[in-house]
């Protein structure tokens, strides 16, 4: 039984073409020309309960539009959209009671209130029973290390503190699904790591389904088994992170240290991209050449002292997918 069911979902926006200049401004008042933009272009996916899915794509690809539809903030132009067995926008109040959402740089907390009072207000808004509230609050305070700033007004928190408080706020009512839009943006390494740990724990211990959009591919590598990639409104990839790497990992690198300095270390099938003294770096296509064949070719001519093989970074992989539209062919 899927918790999110999306079929041929699409969302069209009317974008008005603004005319330039003084005369254009006057004409804009009278009539406007519209251009239809397909922000989300007939996408299909299902997400099961307890999954932790990374939803990736460049700016303007349709990520937030999808999330906003899933969260019930936007009405789709067409297609099927069911979350928790409901059509989100049709039953907004019932729907949002069962989801949690953290939208990037916006806070859901009250700016001038101490964190703890904001959370207490949410207790009333979501009608969380006192015992559940206290239990969850204690647990999240501990996991997210909120204690030092529970009594600080939200306006005085650092970005990392605020994000932790916001994530806590999104989970107090025990939602079945958590939408996280750029939860680590602008944070330092330690803060990022803490948030990742927490997301993982909440997903595993509480079985919360998590949908995560991010620009930080470390988030994806550390958290998500499944990734969906969207670009220009179309779903380019939906599958395991591992198979993404296998299929589109593309070029790998081999760094070789020789026992002595050779003038020319070129070998067939691999591209020599750096050669400095005893160290040489080769690039080769994953599906054309195995690492062992390459090692064989090199070692038949030169004496190798040491070597390492580097997989392509996931970042590189995804960039290649965007750039070349690899999947479109």
């Amino acid at each position: 039984m899927n918790i999110i069911n999306v079929h041929q979902l699409h969302k069209q926006f009317k974008v008005s073409k603004h005319r330039r200049g003084m005369w254009g401004a006057v004409r804009n008042l009278v009539s406007q020309d519209y251009q239809l933009v397909e922000a989300v272009d007939h996408i299909d996916f299902q997400i099961g309960p307890g999954e932790l899915v990374g939803y990736l794509g460049p700016n303007g690809a349709g990520k937030s539009t999808t999330i906003k539809m899933l969260a019930g903030l936007l009405v789709p132009t067409g297609g099927i959209l069911e979350v928790n067995g409901r059509v989100p926008w049709r039953e907004r109040q019932a729907h949002v009671a069962e989801i949690g959402a953290v939208f990037g740089q916006r806070t859901t907390l009250w700016w001038d209130l101490p964190v703890i009072e904001s959370l207490a207000l949410l207790k009333h808004i979501y009608k969380i029973p006192e015992a559940r509230f206290q239990h969850n609050l204690a647990e999240f305070t501990d996991m997210l290390a909120l204690a030092p700033f529970l009594n600080t007004p939200v306006r005085s928190l650092s970005l990392g503190q605020r994000m932790r408080a916001d994530i806590c706020a999104a989970l107090l009512h025990e939602p079945k699904i958590l939408f996280l839009d750029e939860p680590t943006i602008g944070l330092d390494v330690v803060a990022k790591e803490r948030i990742r740990q927490f997301i993982k724990q909440v997903n595993q211990a509480r079985g919360v389904t998590v949908i995560l959009t991010t620009h930080d591919l470390q988030d994806v590598e550390k958290l998500c088994e499944r990734v969906m990639i969207i670009d220009r409104g179309r779903l380019l990839f939906d599958g395991q992170l591992k198979s993404l790497r296998d299929r589109f990992g593309g070029r790998r690198e081999m760094i070789v240290d020789f026992t002595e300095s050779y003038p020319d270390v070129a070998v067939e099938g691999a591209q020599l991209i750096a050669h400095d003294g005893v160290r040489a770096t080769y690039q080769f296509e994953r599906d054309e050449l195995t690492a062992s064949t390459l090692i064989g070719r090199i070692s038949s001519r030169y004496r190798i002292r040491d070597l390492t093989v580097r997989e392509t970074e996931i970042e590189e992989t995804i960039r290649r997918i965007y750039e070349k539209g690899l999947l479109e062919s």
Partner: protein, 269 residues
């Protein structure tokens, strides 16, 4: 419904507490808005000093109308400041309105609870002051009917202006550039009905009678309170249409608001 109402109160108390954290700016704003009202009224009083009366209305009578509108508008501005088009338009643009949609409570109650401009107390106090001054200049012969009807007129005006605020806020779903046009409707509207309606040109009076029924909200009731004849020859029950006009505008604005919400959710601007 009861849950929304209870939460509205909680949200309000949050608002009040955060406003009182900035005591200095609160006091400053309170006095400055009151001062603007005082200046405006002083300029009217100066005109009367020169001419004695405007089309049969004395200063005391105009002051009654003026004080009534100021008080009601101030109260409305305080209660409905969440719908203040300027402020609301900003929250739509910045995406904070989306945050409200993410909470499982009635959206209207949340917008109402998102601000409560306590600083309008200055304006309200001055409105009441002007009313008192009006009564001193031109004592009203009070009857039980008049005493009971006065708060009804104030409440109807609050609903009426609140409706205009809601309409203005809703328009910002489509465009935030036309805030000025909306302000003409709300602030301009309150300015127009602060004066006896029969001083205006016919087309303008018709606009505020048939299109926006503002004339029933204060002008006709004022005739009743001040025991003045109706130069426009409307039926004798015209002064008592104030609540009907207020409710009508409010209901229309709520319908428009819900239409706007649907539009917003399908355009995502």
């Amino acid at each position: 419904m009861r849950h929304s109402f209870e939460l509205y109160h909680r949200l309000l108390s949050v608002q009040l507490r955060s406003q009182l954290q900035y005591r200095f700016s609160f006091l400053l704003e309170m006095f400055s808005t009151a001062f603007v009202v005082l200046l405006e009224f002083a300029s009217i009083a100066l005109v009367f000093e020169r001419f004695g009366h405007i089309k049969g209305w004395s200063l005391g009578e105009v002051a009654f109308l003026y004080g009534l509108v100021e008080t009601a508008f101030g109260l409305m501005d305080m209660v409905f400041s969440g719908f203040d088009p300027q402020r609301f338009g900003q929250s739509v643009r910045r995406g904070t309105f989306d945050q409200l949609l993410l909470r499982p409570i009635n959206i209207t109650a949340q917008v109402m609870g998102s601000d409560f401009a306590l600083r309008r107390l200055g304006k309200i106090a001055l409105g009441i002051g002007i009313l008192a001054y009006a009564l001193a200049l031109n004592p009203i012969t009070w009857t039980l009917g008049k005493i009971l009807y006065l708060p009804v007129v104030v409440a109807s005006n609050i609903l009426f202006f609140g409706g205009l605020f809601v309409v203005g806020a809703t328009i910002t779903f489509w465009t935030v550039e036309s805030i000025e046009v909306i302000n003409i409707l709300t602030y301009g509207g309150s300015f127009v009905i602060s004066y006896p309606m029969h001083i205006y040109q016919q087309w303008m009076r018709h606009f505020f009678t048939y299109l926006v029924p503002a004339i029933f909200l204060t002008y006709f009731p004022a005739l009743y309170f001040l025991d003045k004849p109706d130069p426009l020859h409307f039926p004798a029950y015209a002064p008592f249409l104030s609540p009907a006009a207020g409710l009508l505008v409010w209901a229309a604005s709520m319908a428009f608001w819900h239409f706007g919400l649907k539009h917003y959710q399908s355009t995502g601007t």
